[in-house]
Amino acid sequence: MTELPNSTDRKMGLVIDLDTCVGCHACVISCKGWNTENYGAPLSDQNPYGGDPSGTFLNRVHSYEVQPAEGHAQLIHFPKSCLHCEDAPCVTVCPTGASYKRAEDGIVLVNEDHCIGCGLCAWSCPYGARELDLAEGVMKKCTLCVDRIYNENLPEVDRIPSCVRTCPAGARHFGDLGDPDSDVSKLVAERGGMDLMPEMGTKPVNKYLPPRPKDQIEEQIDILAPLLAPVADEPQGFMGWLDKALDKLPGGAN
């Protein structure tokens, strides 16, 4: 049944540090690689070498510019994948029961053998976390690498989602957000981790750490700076004559 569990034993999820992310897209590629070769149907591409390539991805990195009222604009790289919401609308809208949230760890998954590819779960997701695979005709989404995190055939260091393992900047963290003493929960508390679109009432498990404020450039950076300032605001000497001569030519000044 596509009823949501009342509560989950653990709330496994990601914490994404917008201060640290450098926008390299390595998580996008490693996600595509792992999830094409492992759990479920491969993530297909359509016309990959043609004029209009597109394909299924479970993780995509946007970039946003934030312009404060005062000061410099800031560029923020923004990885986005399934947030494994506590009140996941994508689960309850599913007509077949293919979409479900696990009671043991809160991971939202799709049973690809039962999915009819109606797309309603993707319609109900505000985050664009679900994509219908055009080759397979079923819905694909982040599995939180459910086939890695419990996989005893892998070395322990690799038992984390592929995107987290790959991130060269250390901007992605994985853990139990339901346990207040876990490293990820402490990180969220310390840095003021936030929800995306909280007004949608989805209660996302994944949290985003806001970028730290930028250093301010002070007015006077060096005590010698005043000595290097221009000595005349109005041009003098030859430049002054040239300025006046050019003014007198027909055509006007800008």
């Binding site: 049944m1 596509t2 009823e3 897209h25 209009d52 390539p53 597109s54 394909g55 299924t56 991805f57 995509r60 990195v61 946007h62 946003y64 510019e65 934030v66 312009q67 404060p68 800031q74 923020i76 986005k80 609308p89 309850t92 809208v93 599913c94 007509p95 077949t96 029961g97 039962h114 999915c115 009819i116 590819g117 109606c118 797309g119 309603l120 993707a122 319609w123 109900s124 997701c125 505000p126 985050y127 664009g128 994509e131 219908l132 695979d133 055009l134 005709g137 079923v138 819905m139 936030m194 929800d195 995306l196 679109m197 909280p198 007004e199 949608m200 009432g201 985003y208 806001p210 970028p211």
Partner: protein
């Protein structure tokens, strides 16, 4: 939203078909024999044709039967259950009317209720989506139900109620457009809340994740044709409500001309509703478009 032809055909035809089944179930008109056969053939043709069209947009249509299982939580599943129930009950009722010259009143009422419930559950599939503020309004089910009843009354030849139902449907349509145009703005969702960065300054989409298109953009960000929206609204309103109203209220002599006018009213209404339904999808903004700096 991408205005998929399969979904537009489905909601337009089956809305009309279940509207007619509603009136037939109530014994309006209380036809039997060959005439009843024609009426029920039209009703089932529209309702089943629409349902069949809806399976065309599925990635895996061969598994469609599974959609009947999750009625506890899913409006799409409830719609499937109601549709199958309405078709079975009204099928039995039709057997009585066509072959046994009898109307099983109670069965007809149950069938009528299930037909209306099918239209309501269809509308709730769209209404429930908070991600599409233009659909997430009480006026969405009001629109689907009033359209279905007006179209059903037209087809059933219910002369006494059809003008009123058409007028109500037209009014609901105007209200839906007026309220819908402000829905995204009033929802409070913008790129600031989507990224959580809104309290730091003005957020602008600087660079998309990829240069090409993707499923999300194709499915949720449809901007082609929106520029003609006002013209299409005029066409939808005139064809859907004004012209049919004029055609059925015009006093005419002779049964043949009367039937020709009624047929024209139905065809005009059908074209108008299809146009309105196209706009229903094409104008709907999904909040995921915000992440791409689009709507």
């Amino acid at each position: 939203m991408h205005p998929a032809p399969s979904v537009i055909i489905f909601t337009t035809l089956s809305g009309l078909g279940f509207g007619l089944l509603f009136f037939l179930g109530l014994g309006q008109p209380a036809v039997t024999g060959k005439v009843a056969f024609v009426f029920y053939a039209i009703a089932f043709g529209l309702a089943c044709g629409g349902l069949l069209a809806s399976t065309f947009h599925l990635g895996r249509p061969e598994r469609a039967w599974r959609a009947l299982t999750q009625w506890k939580t899913s409006w799409l599943s409830r719609e499937g259950v109601c549709a199958v129930g309405a078709l079975i009950v009204m099928g039995l009722y039709a057997l009585g009317a066509v072959f046994m010259d009898s109307h099983w009143t109670l069965l007809g009422w149950i069938g009528a209720a299930l037909s209306l419930a099918t239209v309501f559950t269809t509308s709730m599939i769209y209404t429930q989506l908070k991600t599409i503020p233009r659909w997430n309004m009480e006026l969405t089910p009001a629109m689907f139900l009033s359209f279905s009843l007006a179209g059903g009354a037209l087809l059933a030849g219910a002369e006494s109620v059809a003008p009123w139902l058409l007028a109500i449907a037209g009014a609901v349509q105007l209200a839906y457009w007026a309220k819908g145009d402000k829905a995204l703005e009033n929802s409070g969702t913008n790129l600031g809340t989507a990224t959580g960065l809104g309290d730091r300054g003005a957020v602008r989409a600087f660079e998309p994740p990829h240069t090409g298109s993707n499923y999300l953009l194709r499915e949720f960000v449809h901007v082609v044709g929106r520029k003609h929206a006002q013209k299409l609204r005029m066409i939808a309103f005139i064809l859907g409500f004004a012209l049919p109203l004029l055609l059925i209220l015009t006093p005419v002599q002779g049964i043949v001309i009367k039937h020709v006018f009624a047929a024209l009213a139905v065809l005009s209404h059908l074209a108008g509703i299809a146009t309105s339904r196209w706009l229903f999808f094409a104008q709907a903004e999904h909040v995921v478009g915000l992440y791409y700096g689009k709507r």
